[in-house]
């Protein structure tokens, strides 16, 4: 599995290098954005979670390292842990096409997928990610987020994430066509520019169908509600 990952990553980097060498003098930019870096306390085990992007590139092409994780602090294990290397290329004024590789290494199983997706800003200011994770155990994930300005620094960010397995992947807790839905609302305050914005919020997860059955079979709940405290980072 690791060998396969390395091969895909090497291919992605080669592609990146090839694309970058075409472009000329324009300087590279880099950045780090953590939408979520938080502690969740609620009905189930407490969870430390993150969701961040680190990127490097130019207008025409960016390489993004996206990392998402949920760490159960009681059992000291990763309920989910996913790292992706994604190439993002503009295809319209507001949208990028995404191609990359995803590696999931939570406690209990490993998965490698190719990623094909769209990332961008939809009309009415919705930040959209739509990704198809491709392997013999494919699934689809859609994320949308909206920044509601209460003031220019106090921002309420509702978000929704829906993951739909296309086939059964019992070890990964994914039952075919059984969606897992996450709904959140985070109230943040831009304390230092937009670099450090602490927030409080709620996070609700619910699984449906076969995915819910798998969750219950593990002894978990099909749904859980958390209060969250954390910070958004951008630098």
């Amino acid at each position: 599995m690791n060998g396969r990952f390395l091969a895909i990553a090497a291919a992605a980097l080669t592609l990146l290098a090839a694309c970058l060498s075409i472009a000329r003098a324009e300087p590279y930019v880099w950045g780090f954005q953590a939408e979520q870096l938080e502690y969740r306390a609620g009905t189930g085990d407490d969870v430390a979670a993150w969701d961040f992007d680190a990127f490097f590139g130019k207008d025409e092409l960016r390489l993004v390292w996206r990392s998402e994780a949920e760490y159960e602090t009681g059992e000291k294990n990763f309920e989910s842990l996913q790292n992706q290397l994604r190439l993002q290329k503009p295809i319209s004024d507001f949208f990028d096409a995404v191609a990359g590789v995803s590696v999931e290494t939570p406690d209990g199983y490993k998965r490698v997928h190719g990623v094909l997706g769209l990332h961008g800003l939809a009309p009415q200011w919705f930040e959209i990610d739509a990704d198809l994770f491709v392997s013999d155990r494919p699934y689809f994930r859609f994320e949308a987020e909206y920044e509601g300005l209460i003031t220019n620094r106090l921002i309420l960010t509702p978000s929704v994430e829906v993951e739909v397995p296309l086939v059964d992947d019992r070890f990964a807790g994914r039952g075919a066509w059984g969606p897992k839905v996450e709904i959140g609302a985070r109230l943040s305050y831009d304390l230092v520019d937009r670099a450090f914005s602490p927030y409080v919020g709620v996070h609700y997860e619910r699984s449906f169908g076969e995915t819910a059955n798998l969750k219950r079979a593990e002894g978990g709940d099909a749904d859980s509600l958390f209060l969250v405290v954390g910070a958004r980072l951008m630098f």
């Binding site: 472009a23 000329r24 003098a25 324009e26 930019v29 880099w30 950045g31 954005q33 207008d59 503009p90 004024d93 507001f94 800003l121 009309p123 009415q124 200011w125 509601g148 300005l149 209460i150 003031t151 220019n152 620094r153 520019d193 937009r194 951008m234």
Partner: protein, 583 residues
């Protein structure tokens, strides 16, 4: 060798009596490029300056002089000095990659060029973000002949927009999130206010129209959070110019900001504009004027009372202001006005050619026919004043027009789109606000003749990605614009973005077509407001390679930039071309 120290410009009072100089002089000047501390009162940061300070010194030249300027780079990075608005040989223009390779760390580069003009100009680094970081100074050139106006004192009033972040960091933040620095965005409270004043339907329609385009009506200043300065001094540090009541005081306004336009007034005084971009114009008396980035305006004021007057410079987006004082003694102050409310862009500022704009999907929009009649379903009677005609004759309603209620509807400035939210008005009720249309050359430099051809330059960009371009192409991907020595070209600027762009052509004058025919003024910066088309002509009389760009630092750097190559010309003039590396 002439020397100039760090003496503030204001202490040097040049009387008109000193003006006539006949002998050809040659002066030698020294500039060092140094790391300096910028202290705005509200923050301190490391920056770049000249001769140990930012702003750098005021270079005072005389028309007809042959200047030699030794620039020593004390930085650990490459630098350059561009003499903004000065007509000089191509290899003296100071643009790395176009005029010369730049000045390496520790090196001294010697500029030599004749001064063939007079007036107020400035100089700045053309390397990276050294200019926003503080690398600028003023140039004052005394004319050979007596000037067609009188004054007893003169002061340089150099406006800048010092920012706590370095230029590199600002660009990175803008690329990461184009609205990073926009803290004037409309909030829930603005929404509730609008619902209360305009009703829910119209407020929703307005929000939906902007949301459909993913544009913000508050997007007037890309870069907020700066501290406006006058001659390096913040509001609390209060730059002061002294006068004796009854004297005529010439104020040489220079906007050396990276990104900020200013609306300038001196409550209690009329401003007589006598020069624009260093060139004499027929005097026009106004209450207020807007200065684009990189422009200069010389105004004469005559304070008669024995009291202080505030020089008040509000940023166009009203996110900050600079103030200085004209006083009869040090320490004297006058009232400082409140910032006026921030303007909001309207659909007129979007232009109708904007890419991605889909009329059919814009709620609340209606169209009128080219002859001015409206289509069925549009009820003008019930919404008085709520429709505006667009450049192409279409109108719309449901948009937010409240922010420009004070707009002079009777005599709109033709250099703004009809219904533009940016259209300026004087703070003084009924006061006169300077328009480009008011500028008439005092004595035209060039004979009037038709241009041989027209070159269209669409000013384009992608706000969300923070990419700026000309004709949709960034500098790095663009071919140079080729001009022929001796021709006269007509440039057509079509602003398809919602930002205002101060376009600056190096090496040759920009003859602004403001409808005054042979009295069209010559400038070095032509500001093009959103949704408008502006023409300028250029007598191509300077062989070589020149830069042509938007003078907003972060627009120029991200691609709204072109190289201009003037082909042909006298061999002795063109000789300087050889050895110049391409951009």
């Amino acid at each position: 060798m002439k020397s100039f120290g760090l003496m503030p410009a204001g202490l040097l009072c040049l009387g008109a009596l000193l003006a006539p100089v006949t002998a050809v002089q040659s002066g030698e000047y020294n500039l060092t490029v140094d790391r300096v501390q910028v202290d705005t009162g509200s923050f301190t940061r490391s920056g770049i300056g000249y001769n140990g300070a930012t702003p750098g010194p005021v270079l005072r030249f005389e028309e007809g002089e042959e200047v030699t300027i030794n620039v020593t780079n004390n930085l650990s990075e490459s630098t350059s000095v561009h003499w903004h608005g000065i007509i000089l040989p191509t290899d003296q223009d100071g643009v790395p990659g176009i005029s010369y390779p730049g000045i390496a760390p520790g090196e001294t580069f010697t500029y030599r060029f004749p001064i063939r003009q007079s007036g107020t100009y400035w100089f700045h680094s053309h390397t990276g973000f050294q200019e926003p970081d503080g690398a600028y100074g003023a140039i004052v050139i005394t004319p050979k002949k007596r000037e067609p106006f009188r004054y007893d004192r003169d002061y340089v009033v150099q406006l800048t927009d010092a920012h706590p972040h370095s230029g590199d960091r600002i660009l990175r933040n803008l690329k990461m999130s184009a609205d990073y620095y926009n803290r004037k965005q409309r909030t829930l409270f603005d929404f509730l206010d609008d619902v209360a004043s305009k009703g829910l339907d119209r407020t929703l329609a307005d929000r939906a129209a902007w949301g459909e385009m993913r544009m913000m009506p508050t997007d007037i200043e890309d870069l907020q959070g700066f501290t406006p300065l006058i001659n390096g001094k913040a509001v609390s540090q209060n730059w002061t110019g002294l006068f004796t009541p009854g004297e005529r005081v010439r104020l040489r306004f220079i906007n050396s900001s990276a990104m900020t336009y200013f609306d300038i007034r001196i409550p209690g005084l009329k401003l007589t504009v006598v020069q624009a971009d260093g060139n004499n114009v027929q005097p026009v008396t106004v209450d207020e004027f807007r200065i684009a980035v990189a422009e200069t305006f010389d105004v004469i004021v005559r304070p008669t009372e024995d009291r202080a007057y505030t020089i008040f410079a509000e940023s166009m987006g009203r996110t900050g202001f600079a103030r200085g004082t004209l006083a009869t003694r040090e320490g004297e102050e006058a009232d400082v006005p409140e910032l006026r409310p921030a303007p909001l862009l309207t659909m007129a500022d979007m232009g109708m050619a904007h890419e991605g704009m889909d009329h059919g999907s814009m709620p609340g929009m209606t169209h009128s026919m080219p002859d001015g009649t409206t289509m069925k379903g549009m009820d003008q009677g019930s919404m008085p004043g709520m429709t505006h005609s667009m450049p192409d004759g279409t109108t719309m309603k449901g948009m937010d027009h409240s922010a420009h209620g004070g707009m002079a509807m009777d005599k709109p400035d033709p250099f703004y789109a009809p219904g533009s939210g940016l259209s300026p008005t004087a703070a003084e009720p009924g006061g006169k606000f300077l328009s480009y249309s008011d500028l008439k050359a005092q004595s035209p430099l060039y004979a009037e003749r038709p241009a041989g051809r027209e070159i269209e330059l669409r000013l384009t960009g992608n706000m969300e990605r923070y990419i700026w371009s000309i004709n949709g192409i960034k500098y790095e991907d663009a071919e140079p614009i080729r001009l022929q020595y001796g021709e006269r070209v007509r440039f057509k600027f079509v602003n398809e973005t919602m930002m205002t762009h101060p376009m600056h052509l190096h090496g040759m004058w920009s003859i602004l077509d403001n409808g005054n025919g042979r009295w069209n003024p010559i400038k070095h910066v032509v500001s093009v407001t959103p949704g408008t088309t502006v023409y300028m002509e250029t007598e191509v009389d300077a062989p070589g390679a020149w830069a042509f760009h938007c003078h907003l630092s972060y627009h120029a750097d991200t691609g709204m930039f072109r190289k201009v190559i003037v082909e042909g010309g006298p061999p002795e003039k063109a000789a300087a071309l050889t050895g110049v590396s391409g951009g």
